[in-house]
Symmetry: C2
Subunit: 222 residues, 2 copies
């Protein structure tokens, strides 16, 4: 039985549950800790469950048959992923992959149990629908970037976002990893990093990518 | 007052409405006919309403600041679009454009009225959520094509889909129009059409693009 206080912090609908609904969800939730890079969902698991990030960071991405990747959105402390429980969502016909970026503690609610409670409690269903609309919007932002933005702009946005996530001026990532986030080739990332470096916005070294001129990088995203 | 029989054919939740709910929706729905190319939603109209296609075909697309386009999905007889009423959907923070592809008759339900009824009737809300999940899935299919498929495959898929929509072996469209659907440049479309033509799958003439070898084109999509 998972601590109900923990679940009440993750889920805004918790206060709207009946005591039996609380008990049912708590009894069908497991807490798991994932190592950096570990697969949380995808690759055959059809319905991992509803993921609630207690502490850490997850990456949700698409993966092609040829192994090409693109990041759709990331989940940090307090965030929920429903697409890992798409079996319970009518009309969701695609699958995503989720992996841990750093050591991440996740509460996983069994999808069938979530679905059962949602069918009886409109607050639980509303929460699911709000999360799906939020992810839809995040994916549309990715589509907009992929289709309409040049790579120097996309990479500048990515570096600033990553710096905020890591709370650091230095982004410790390989060009290959950045390419996977952006759904492009390593060569493209290397070329654009070189351009941003020539402009004096960043410094690229073996230790990582250091942001030297945050305002300059911000201007690139405009 | 719009004919209730028409609305009951468009909306599966109609039989679950109370008589006052039926009356309220019918009184706040307008029927409009759009000419080919005419804008149905977008370009400043923030909340056109819930669109139900009575007869015809609508195209939903994204448009960049520079005028680049990509088709997200199309709506045919009986289809519903909720993204044209995104003001009523929590967490939907993007906007799409909708235009008529052929002469199209549309029933437009006022968004505030739909929202009001949905808040009281879970069948109406469920329908909205099902449509949003369906569109999310359709957009993910577009993302997959854009990111992971070569243009010869994407164009073959497009020609077969268009042929099915038009119920014709000949697709009467300019290379520019096809490029707008696929979010690419006209030159790219012209080049790939030439390739498909050299392979004997299609014939390109001033009259349009004629499918000569449907099986050959189908193999391209595999």
């Amino acid at each position: 039985m998972v601590d109900k206080n923990l679940l009440s912090e993750l889920y805004p609908f918790w206060k709207e549950l009946t005591p039996p609904q609380e008990a049912e969800i708590a009894a069908n939730t497991v807490i798991r800790t994932f190592k950096p890079g570990e697969v949380v969902h995808g690759g055959g698991q059809e319905c991992t469950g509803v993921l609630g990030v207690i502490r850490g960071r997850l990456r949700t991405f698409m993966l092609s048959d040829e192994g090409k990747e693109i990041t759709l959105f990331r989940l940090v402390d307090g965030d929920t992923c429903m697409l890992s429980a798409s079996c319970m969502i009518r009309n969701i016909s695609f699958d995503v992959h989720v992996s841990a970026e750093i050591k991440t503690e996740v509460a996983i609610i069994n999808a069938a149990v979530y679905d059962k409670v949602a069918k009886r409690n409109p607050h639980v269903e509303s929460f699911m629908n709000e999360i799906i609309s939020m992810r839809f919007s995040e994916v549309m932002w990715v589509v907009e970037q992929v289709l309409f933005m040049k790579m120097d702009k996309r990479l500048s946005i990515f570096l600033l976002e990553q710096s905020a996530l890591d709370q650091s001026d230095t982004i410790v990532m390989t060009h290959e990893q950045i390419a996977s986030h952006l759904g492009t080739a390593r060569e493209v990332v290397s070329r654009v990093l070189k351009y941003l470096s020539n402009e004096g916005h960043i410094a690229v070294s073996r230790k990582g990518i250091k942001i030297l001129n945050r305002n300059g990088l911000l201007k690139m995203t405009g």
